[in-house]
């Protein structure tokens, strides 16, 4: 599916082991920057150091194949994405997001979104992918997580439009990265 107005391609999957793994695999075989890998569920979603990221149904889970940045600019990617996620929350909903630097976004003291950027680097950047897990329409978290995680649905008491949020994040990120990518 290609949205000509938005200028990015979305590859949708019913379920994936991990969108970042899929994104890296596609990038290795030559997929273009701004290819989006979207899934409804991740069987083995992971965060930093491979810690599990629970991907419950209703959430927004996607990875972006990023254009190759300069090595010096890599460290700003995650922060920019966290900023865009927070901005999307603030502009669309009556919620006050908090950026837990560098890679998480909180609402009311609980995590609502997390970002994991992964790069393959030699003398220069070979592959750069960014995974975003956004707790959008998650109804309820398991007991062990309900004090640390929340969703937009829980905070707002209503469903949100995952597609619209995805588009706003990608468009916003693209705008931000213009200054630092090829």
């Amino acid at each position: 599916m290609q949205d000509s107005k938005l200028q990015f391609k979305i590859q949708k999957y019913k379920t994936l082991e991990s969108t970042n793994l899929k994104a890296k695999e596609l990038a290795k075989s030559g997929a273009e920057p701004w290819t989006i890998i979207l899934t409804e569920e991740q069987a083995g979603g992971y965060g930093r150091k491979g810690t599990a990221w629970l991907s419950l149904k209703g959430g927004l889970y996607f990875s972006i194949i990023l254009p190759k940045s300069n090595i010096d600019d890599l460290q700003t990617l995650t922060i920019l994405a966290a900023f865009i996620c927070a901005k999307t929350i603030k502009e669309n909903f009556n919620l006050e997001p908090f950026i837990k630097l560098p890679n998480d976004v909180w609402v009311n003291g609980k995590k609502v979104a997390g970002i994991l950027t992964e790069n393959v680097i030699g003398k220069d950047v070979k592959i750069s992918v960014m995974g975003i897990g956004f707790n959008t329409n998650i109804e309820k978290f398991p007991e062990d997580l309900e004090n640390i995680a929340t969703s937009l649905k829980i905070e707002l008491g209503r469903e949100v439009d995952n597609k619209k949020i995805l588009e706003q994040i990608i468009t916003g990120l693209k705008e931000q990265l213009k200054t630092i990518s090829e």
């Binding site: 930093r48 995650t78 890679n103 992964e118 680097i121």
Partner: protein, 134 residues
């Protein structure tokens, strides 16, 4: 495939062949050049190709690196190679976490590991030597 290419007044005789899988041979006016693909599918040149190896096993002598340096500051989270191991272009050598971002550091050339200079959980600065090669 043979062809002639003229650049300015000079004519170069070019011959391109693939003597074995993943080995591209280009002859320019009797001088031989060899290229191979790394794991990322990029073509890299094999300089000073040893004549005796041409028709047999490829152990490229060229494109040898002396060391692999850290491209950015961060903490080493995993080391995938050990002393004495032969590495090739595109091969993962270490994983480095920087600003909660995971970075697979790969080798750009061929080589044999002389020493792994870092340990897991060690902080490194950009430019620090991670691995030395023989």
């Amino acid at each position: 495939m043979k062809t002639d290419i003229q650049i300015g007044d000079k004519v170069y005789q070019i011959e391109i062949s693939e003597p074995q899988e993943n080995l591209l041979k280009v002859i320019v006016n009797d001088k031989e050049y060899f290229f191979t693909k790394n794991e990322l599918g990029e073509l890299s040149s094999i300089e000073d190709f040893h004549p005796s190896l041409k028709e047999t096993e490829i152990i490229p002598k060229g494109r040898m690196e002396r060391e692999i340096k850290s491209p950015l500051a961060g903490v080493i989270s995993a080391i995938m190679v050990k002393k004495g191991e032969k590495i090739k272009p595109g091969q993962k050598v270490v994983t480095l976490i920087a600003m909660k971002m995971e970075n697979e550091i790969i080798s750009e050339g061929y080589g044999k590991i002389k020493e792994v200079k870092v340990k897991e959980d060690q902080f490194v600065n950009s430019g620090d030597i991670l691995i030395t090669l023989e």
